[in-house]
């Protein structure tokens, strides 16, 4: 596609992004059809509902990652936040229903604080986002080790686990509901609020944002705090559906969230993209995971396919833009 002035005039920012979202959604549908062909037994609603359920945690996390990448940054510690909040939640709840609310509040606070510290390091200490979040990742992993000493303990309260068994509107699990609700909320924020537009401008042109009176530092700190908070929320939601502690819970989430966001149309260069694309991206990633599970090649197939996908998307965008 030759980008000269006359072509550009017919070109529409919203439609570019819209096309991206449509594109990835079509990709998802095709992939879904492919999976039905491979295993016809799965062509039913229960299976689809299950896919949604599997995607909820990642989807929630990826909302925060979307905001971070729109500002031109990256967050590599989200997976560790998930694991940490997960073990702390189980460890402190001690089976008592009365503990549920305070423990969850604490978990959310941990996520928010981790994100907040990331934001501080990036804005005030001027540390590059990938370095800062990589350090936080290491520190969080260390904290997990210190807290659990390798042997996570604790039990969940029954009431808590019941939340994981609840269904909303018939067959939608609580986790999916929370995911979709948050997605809609954050789509709304990004497109309709002053804050959302500030987030976009900071990613699109930081100097222009600054000269327009935006407090860039505040915006960035907020974005990373939100990402941390959502990761903690994802951890809590995931934990309601689990029966045992897993030290590996967050292991893949950092990478998966980046994949989901990037193939959903949000670009590393900043300013372009949105959560609606990430929803589709999340579903695609999870579908790929489940297909790979059926083929029994999950751990390596996932990494290879996702790395090629991300690189492919970024590389083709990079040649096209300029």
């Amino acid at each position: 596609m030759i980008f000269n002035k006359s072509n550009l005039k017919k070109f529409n920012v919203k439609s570019f992004h819209f096309k991206g979202v449509v594109g990835i959604s079509i990709g998802f549908v095709l992939l879904q059809i492919l999976s039905y062909i491979i295993s016809p037994a799965s062509a039913n609603f229960a299976d689809f509902a299950n896919l949604l359920k599997q995607s909820a945690g990642l989807g929630l996390l990826a909302i925060g990652q979307t905001y971070v990448i729109i500002t031109g940054g990256i967050d590599l510690c989200l997976g560790s936040i998930v694991t940490l909040v997960h073990v702390v939640t189980i460890g402190l709840m001690d089976g008592k229903a009365g503990n549920i609310i305070p423990v969850c509040m604490l978990g959310l606070l941990i996520g928010a604080v981790a994100g907040f510290l990331n934001g501080l390091g990036i804005t005030k200490a001027k540390i590059a986002p990938f370095v800062m979040t990589l350090c936080t990742d290491f520190i969080l992993r260390g904290l997990i080790m210190v807290y659990t000493k390798g042997q996570p303990k604790g039990t969940l309260a029954e009431a808590f686990r019941n939340v994981g068994r609840e269904r909303v509107f018939g067959s939608i699990s609580v986790s999916v509901f929370v995911w979709l609700f948050c997605s809609c909320l954050f789509i709304f924020i990004l497109y309709k609020t002053v804050f959302g537009k500030h987030v976009r401008m900071v990613g699109a042109n930081m100097e222009c944002a600054r000269f327009s009176g935006v407090n860039n530092d505040r915006v960035l700190i907020s974005v990373y705090t939100i990402a941390g908070f959502l990761a903690a929320l994802a951890a809590i939601i995931l934990t309601t559906e689990m029966s045992a502690t897993s030290l590996n819970l967050g292991a893949d989430y950092s990478m998966d969230s980046i994949s989901a966001v990037v193939i959903g149309g949000t670009m590393f260069s900043g300013g372009i993209g949105g959560v609606e694309g990430t929803i589709a991206g999340t579903l695609v990633i999870r579908l790929i995971t489940s297909l790979l599970q059926k083929a029994n090649v999950v751990n390596w197939g996932k990494l290879i396919i996702q790395s090629v996908l991300i690189l492919g998307v970024v590389a083709s965008n990079s040649r096209r833009k300029k």
Binding site: I74, G121, A125, K126, I127, A128, F130, V131, M132, L134, C135, T136, D137, F138, I139, R141, G142, L143, M145, V146, K149, M255, F268, V297, N299, W300, G301, K302, L303, I304, I305, Q306, S307, V308, I310, L311, V314, A315, S318, R319, K322
Partner: protein, 330 residues
């Protein structure tokens, strides 16, 4: 009056120090020595010959891969794929190696070529697509990790005992691993300071346009830095597989962050163009020494301090970035 003069003198000294420390790695070596003082008080057994030998042996792999990372960062880039390269090489080596001498030599050579090839891929991607090195090497890193998982079918593979013996021999304070590191260090030092390539790497990181104005192709220099990084990663993969006599897709996990930490703590600027190998040397000692010190503390005081290693490492990098930032702020 004399107070004023001595204040001036002090200011003069610290400015001179700042100037020297920018070009050389004096700061970090001094910091390292200063750090040894509390260590001497808290865990004096650190200085026992056997322990010191352990420290040097432990720092060798990190030191080697950090040398490669230094080249990349000096050139203004970053290599996030070193960890997975190390793991992948360890798997390939342990899968292919047999007892024959030819196999040992051949597989070693093959792995080194592989490492160079991985680095070449990194550099090539960056040459063809204008994307940030972070993203490119993050993706290739994931890719190599995936291949490592795929190949890691059996339980660890096989490495002949003699391979291990050769690679891990040590007497007193002298050990093969550390000696290998020193050899690599000297070789890299000569390359960086006495060969054309060294100058071009500094120029690439400092002001890449200058290279283009002269007619030197900066993408080619970039590729070379990543190839060097790939070679050092392969070397470390070979060493680890020799030491443990088995391969694993997790050997390299921490090395990416650790190598970056060693390089930054050692005074090399993330932006490129400023830094020294000697600094990375000190940085690698500092970072790998941490485990040893924490283990000694745990042993002596019956604390569970070993778990704090990751936390402290992360904090060290953050502090190093803040500290060195003041240097470039002017």
């Amino acid at each position: 009056m004399t107070i004023f003069k001595s204040f001036n003198f002090f200011a003069f000294l610290s400015k001179k120090f700042e100037q020297i420390s920018k070009k050389s790695s004096i700061t970090i070596w001094i910091l390292l020595l200063i750090f040894l003082i509390p260590v001497a008080f808290i865990v004096p057994e650190f200085f026992r010959l056997r322990n010191l030998n352990n420290v040097l042996i432990q720092m060798a792999p990190l030191g080697m891969v950090s040398i490669g990372q230094t080249f990349v960062i000096l050139g203004g880039g970053i290599d996030m794929s070193v960890g997975s390269q190390i793991s992948l090489v360890s798997i390939v080596a342990s899968t292919l190696m047999t007892d024959s001498l030819i196999s040992m030599i051949g597989v070693t050579a093959l792995c080194l070529i592989m490492g160079a090839f991985f680095g070449y891929i990194n550099g090539l991607i960056l040459k063809v697509f204008p994307i940030p090195p972070l993203i490119a090497t993050l993706c290739t890193g994931y890719f190599f990790q995936g291949v490592a998982y795929a190949l890691h079918q059996t339980s660890g593979g096989y490495i002949p005992k003699i391979y291990k013996d050769v690679f891990t021999a040590s007497w007193g304070l002298i050990s093969v691993p550390f000696f290998l590191f020193l050899l690599l260090f000297i070789f890299a030092y000569v390359l960086l300071s006495k060969k054309k390539l060294g100058r071009y790497v500094y120029a690439l990181g400092g002001n890449a346009e200058v290279l283009d104005n002269i007619g030197v192709k900066s993408p080619e220099i970039k590729i070379k830095t990543y190839v060097i990084s790939g070679l050092t990663s392969a070397l470390v993969g070979l060493y680890l597989v020799a030491k443990l006599r088995s391969g694993s897709s997790h050997y390299g996990d921490d090395y990416t962050l650790l190598s970056i930490t060693a390089v930054i703590v050692g005074g090399t600027s993330m932006a490129g163009g400023i830094g020294t190998l000697s600094g990375t040397f000190a940085g690698a000692i500092l970072v790998s020494m941490l485990t040893n010190v924490l283990n000694n503390v745990a042993f002596r005081y019956n604390l569970q301090s070993a778990y704090y290693k990751d936390i402290i490492t992360g904090l060290i990098l953050i502090i190093a970035m803040i500290f060195y930032r003041k240097r470039t702020k002017k």
